[in-house]
Amino acid sequence: MAESTHIHDKNVPLEYSKAEDRMTILGFWVFLGAEVVLFSTLFATYLVLHSRPADGPTSAELFKPEIVLIMTFLLLTSSFTGSMAIHYLRAQNMKKMIVWLLLTMLLGLGFLGCEIYEFHEYIALEGVSIKTSAFLSGFFVLVGTHGLHVTLGIGWLTLILIQLKKRGFTPRTARKVFVIGLYWHFLDIVWLFIFTLVYLSGMVL
């Protein structure tokens, strides 16, 4: 167990002040590297199976740009609001940080709502599902895995908000906020590639 080399320099953010928390942040970056590989495998599967729609619709026939754009801007904005929250974390301004965190959560919920609506359109109205074709299996699992990650992220953020209320700013709570910030930005980056390689490519190429 590392001896806690506590850094008392006020120029060092709270989340980096204890050795334990520094290691956790590094560990989380390594985990994000693993997640990049995880999503890349899902992307590879999607791209390989994309041209195999069997009897079901193709991507060009299925995807609609409007809802995709709304989701993209919701998530992109939530990434910005998340980064604002980290700014106020470092400014040690609890009130403002919580406001920006809640905004982030709201935008995330909006994103999920749209995605549930989109999937509902496909499943209930178009009558397709993962059972329809290889292409649709790939689509639902790739985009669904991302959506599941967002859902877990919102649950996680809720837990952190509760802990912040109870304990205020400590090196550990600061680290927790920073880490979930990393997670949240990462999900936006993944969505960037989904937007590009699934939806846009699927509609025009």
């Binding site: 590392a2 290691m23 590989v37 995880l38 993962i130 074709s133 290889a134």
Partner: protein, 650 residues
């Protein structure tokens, strides 16, 4: 569902298994009760986050799995000893080669090496534990529950039988209905989570918890091999996670990733499996290389020849390991362009490996060799592994591989690299680090007997198999016709297999014998070692080092002994003691893994009423952990002084 679909019936061997499971369970319960060890188990082992205890548990589990996997192997060899034997039916044989492969690679080799990494690496870098002790416990229990889930298929529901590679469409619902294949998917998924966590843990540990002055190029070579292995784990295991999940979706939810119908591509399974699978075999061989390097240096009494080259060659191997995977399915029709590229990369990867062989030989040259059991395993590794490696280069030639693929030539190749590489390293590491973990030596005489039995048996079993493969005998065939000229070789191979079995029995006996009569390790440095794990008592106090050592060069401890003498090199003055911060124990990892087991078992049988609560239980454990702000405890200077005096009882 009928009871005989749930419990496997109709096979005498399986009834035998029921009986032995029942007897063993009762036996364990009896022993624990008789020696009043329930509390000890519940307070000292189940909630432990101590890397040394976790490592020991990994190794105990691997030895049990080696037993089961070995029985599988011996059953296969018995069935194949003569043509058209009826020891095992074809379906039974399929189950056995599936479980043999899966258990040996994933539940024997991986945990054995990870167990050794756990015990040794924090000690080698002068640390008190790993970066994330709680996560380390989760890694072990996930592995253990995943292994349990896989093993229970034998008696409940039936084992998977599509090979350890589980190719589609054979592994799909149409051709492999029932729970068997689901056990494979869920058992490996659960264990895989633990392994990924281990990779992250050791990566951060080695990067951030080394003793002051220990730069990367002053680290022990086994620690280097662990670092590189951890990087491979982090980048390879997520691919397996996805691949298993996608096949699970195909089987449970009717998706079409790898099916024949509705646009699925069975070959994509093979592609994804081997994108993981090839780095996986380097995950099991690089730590082995590290172990051999340590042992050869210690018992040749020389610094490792070409330390830098050894490091860079492992880095090169790790990098290349991600671009060779198609060589596992050259014959699947990817085309000449693809096959040529992967042929070249595969041949390239033999170069850094060759560099290492020469460096080991040059380390031995002019060394003062001490023939301990650990050294014998290491010396035997060199020629045997080279045989495996050379046949690997033969297989790398894609056009030639059309002849060798899936014959016994391939089977012999991978057993030569895996057994002579990984298994020999596990045994060598066991003998080498056993005194450190337990405080007594393993008996050398019995060790030598088991070595010769196993090593000779191994060669008698597998060397002839190259030839019967070239004669056309395919792998995974449960019997063969007489008159093909294969019989003689198969008889010889079976005799060799029994030799290996005998060697294993002697090894197990020597563990028991040494526990009772073994020589105590009183100094903590029975081999005159070179690295920090030998600087502390055997077994180490739970905080490892009373004082974190300072490092200025490679093999610092060795030079300290030379310069200051044995006693002074290991001395810790009272003024140097400080309070030591240690992590808390926790039952949450074990409990969380039980919930994972429940969820997995539910998914195997498609009992969502069981699976969903299981997953909720897992999440609940994570929530509990999130709200746990207990930061560990401090050992005061007095407590450290007391423990230190007891440990250094010389």
């Amino acid at each position: 569902m009928k009871l005989d679909e749930f419990f496997v019936t109709g096979e005498p061997l399986i009834y035998g298994a029921y009986v032995s499971i029942a007897v063993a369970t009762l036996g364990i319960i009896f022993v624990l009760t008789y020696f009043k060890k329930w509390k000890w188990l519940w307070t000292e082992w189940i909630p432990t986050v101590d890397h040394k205890k976790i490592g020991i548990m990994y190794i105990i589990a691997s030895l049990l799995m080696l037993f089961r996997g070995g029985i599988d192997g011996m059953l296969m060899r018995t069935q194949l000893a003569l043509p058209e034997l009826k020891v095992l039916s074809s379906s039974h044989y399929n189950e056995i080669f599936t479980t043999h492969g899966t258990i040996m690679i994933l539940f024997m080799a991986m945990p054995f090496l990870i167990g050794l990494m756990n015990i040794v690496v924090p000690l080698q870098i002068g640390a008190r534990d790993v970066a994330f002790p709680f996560l380390n416990a989760i890694s072990f229990w996930s592995f253990f529950m995943g292994a349990m889930l896989f093993n229970i298929s034998f008696v409940i529901g039936g084992s998977p039988d599509a090979g350890w590679t589980a190719y589609m469409p054979l592994a799909g619902n149409e051709l492999s209905p029932g729970p068997g294949q689901n056990y494979y998917l869920l058992g490996l998924q659960l264990s895989g989570i633990g392994t990924l966590a281990t990779g992250i843990n050791f990566l951060v540990t080695i990067l951030r918890m080394r003793a002051p002055g220990m730069t990367l190029m002053k680290m022990p070579i086994f620690t280097w091999s662990t670092l590189i292995t951890s990087i491979i784990i982090v980048f390879a295991f997520p691919v397996l996670t996805v691949a298993l999940a996608l096949m699970t979706f195909d089987r449970l939810f009717g998706s079409h990733f790898f099916t024949l119908a509705n646009g699925g591509m069975p070959m994509m399974w093979a592609n994804l499996f081997w994108i993981w699978g090839h780095p996986e075999v380097y995950i099991v061989i690089l730590p082995a290389f590290g172990i051999f390097s340590e042992i050869i240096c210690t018992f040749a009494r020389k610094t490792l020849f070409g330390y830098k080259a050894m490091v860079f060659s492992m880095i090169a191997i790790a990098g290349l390991s991600f671009i060779v995977w198609v060589h596992h399915f050259f014959t699947m029709g990817a085309g000449a362009g693809v096959n040529s590229f992967f042929s070249i990369t595969t041949m390239a990867i033999s170069v850094p490996t060759g560099v290492k062989i020469f460096n080991w030989l040059l380390t031995l040259y002019k060394g003062r060799i001490k023939m301990t059991v650990a050294m014998m395993w290491s010396l035997a590794f060199i020629p045997n592994f080279v045989i495996g490696g050379i046949t690997g280069v033969m297989l790398a030639m894609a056009s030639a591989d059309y002849q060798y693929h899936n014959t016994y030539f391939l089977v012999a190749h991978f057993h030569y690299v895996l057994v002579a590489g990984t298994v020999f390293a596990c045994f060598a590491g066991l003998y080498y680090w056993y005194p450190k973990a337990f405080g007594h030596m393993l008996n050398e005489r019995l060790g030598k007997i088991s070595f010769w039995l196993f090593m000779i048996g191994f060669n008698v079993c597998f060397f002839p198999l190259y030839f019967v493969g070239l004669m056309g005998m395919a792998r995974r065939m449960y019997t063969y016709s007489p008159g093909l000229g294969w019989t003689g070789i198969n008889i010889v191979a079976t005799i060799g297999a029994f030799g290996m079995g005998l060697g294993f029995i002697v090894l197990v006996y020597s563990i028991y014998y040494s526990a009772r009569y073994g020589k105590r390790d009183v100094t903590g440095d029975p081999w005159d070692g070179r690295t920090f794990e030998w600087m502390i008592p055997s077994p180490p106090p739970h905080y490892n080092f009373a004082k974190i050592p300072q490092v200025s060069r490679l093999d610092e401890y060795w030079y300290l002994k030379k310069e200051k003498g044995f006693k002074e090199a290991r001395e810790v003055k009272e003024e140097e003691l400080k309070p030591i911060h240690m992590p808390n124990k926790s039952h949450v990892p074990a409990i969380m893994s039980v919930f994972f087991f429940i969820a997995g078992f539910g998914l195997v049988w498609e009992w969502y009423w069981m699976a969903i609560p299981g997953l909720i239980g897992v999440l609940a454990c994570m929530v509990i952990r999130s709200f746990d702000y207990n930061d560990g405890f401090y050992l005061s200077i007095e407590e450290v002084k007391e423990a230190h005096k007891v440990g250094e009882g010389n």
